[in-house]
Subunit: 192 residues, 2 copies
DNA sequence: TATTTAGCTATACATTTGTATAGTTTTTTA
DNA sequence: TAAAAAACTATACAAATGTATAGCTAAATA
């Protein structure tokens, strides 16, 4: 939970200067760069500001030179595009449903690439987005036209919603392991 | 047409290291950072590489610390996303549901900031994410715990799903304009 | 073959840079 | 009104950092 951390006028000013410097140069300002823009004669003033801004969650910094990064919070607060992203976004392919017989990962089936936050999807390789066709999973509120965020993994728990490849077509089902080697894939819509 | 000034294997390697460092840290590596990754004992070796890479148009640098930037040419050459300027995601606040009486935009209600692709949300200001509480809209497959992507606009069409502020609490309903000045907000779950 | 380029080592050096110490003044807040 | 927080000045310092000097070897080029 983000705490109530409003900024003073001067702190906001420092944040703006950092944003503008990065937008103009593509690398972080040094503490003395900021001091000069503000007209301050000592680096300590700016250093204090940066400490507060980091504590309030508006910037990230390390001890190495020119390493100030703006967080999502500050980018939203400033109402600007991010010149340097805090967390990476991964471009995931949006897979549609293609004619039977062709594998879903065929290039004709990639509709577009959409950036998805790692905060949402994590960094696992092989993740993708899948457009749902049909209403066989409407009992789980997965309906026609929905876009599923699919995590690729090797194992599944009983009862989990999984994507199975049946005859090269992707089907969304619940996974149930049964006695022996058989596996049941169940639709959540009783009509199926 | 971009002129392809070819790189040697080692120069390409340096370029890759710079890309990966920026992608991981969001700020440029120092010359000695690169030397360490390459296993070189002197900064001069890397410095020579950077001079060549800049002459060939793959990087930009200045004399200040950690100021290496990758050019469009090198990003194209590497076949990767731009690690320093990501202009197609906006950071949106994820709003939760708080105790009655407090406005939903209160800072205590901002749970985190999540980057969302402009391909999904567009670039409208004032957009936000809202965590759903309760099942009054389950008929529209909006259920407890879902995250809604909310577009801020001034008008609504009859029958559209909208977020209304009732006593400072956000409620998700369908919007129906009726004769006269009254407006009906309807739940999609008949139990409500 | 002669010359240039690529790719280094080792060392040195002047800045740049983040951080610290020790204060002062102003503005908020309780 | 007293205390705390914010916002500075001035100075110092070690570490980080880009750059330079003076070499070396191997590969590519003319």
């Amino acid at each position: 939970m983000v705490k109530k951390e409003s900024l003073t006028q001067k702190q906001l000013n420092v944040l703006r200067i950092i944003y503008e410097f990065i937008a103009a140069n593509n690398y972080s300002p040094s503490i003395r760069n900021i001091a000069e823009i503000l007209g301050l004669s000592s680096p300590k003033g700016v250093s204090d500001h940066l400490t507060v801004l980091e504590k309030k969650g508006y910037i990230l910094k390390s001890s190495s030179a020119r390493s100030i990064r703006l967080t999502g919070k500050s980018l939203w607060y400033l109402g600007v595009q991010n010149p340097s992203i805090e967390n990476n976004v991964d471009y995931l392919p949006l897979l549609g449903s293609i004619a039977a017989g062709k594998p879903i990962f065929a290039e004709e089936n990639i509709q577009e690439y959409i950036p998805v936050s790692n905060q949402i999807m994590g960094k696992t390789k092989g993740n993708y987005l899948l457009k749902v066709k049909g209403d066989s999973m409407s009992g789980d509120h997965i309906v026609d036209g929905d876009i599923l965020m699919v995590k690729t993994q090797n194992t599944a728990e009983n009862g989990e919603i999984i994507i199975a490849l049946v005859d090269n077509e992707a089907v969304v089902k619940r996974y149930y392991r049964r006695v022996g080697e058989t596996v049941e894939l169940r639709s959540s819509n009783p009509l199926y």
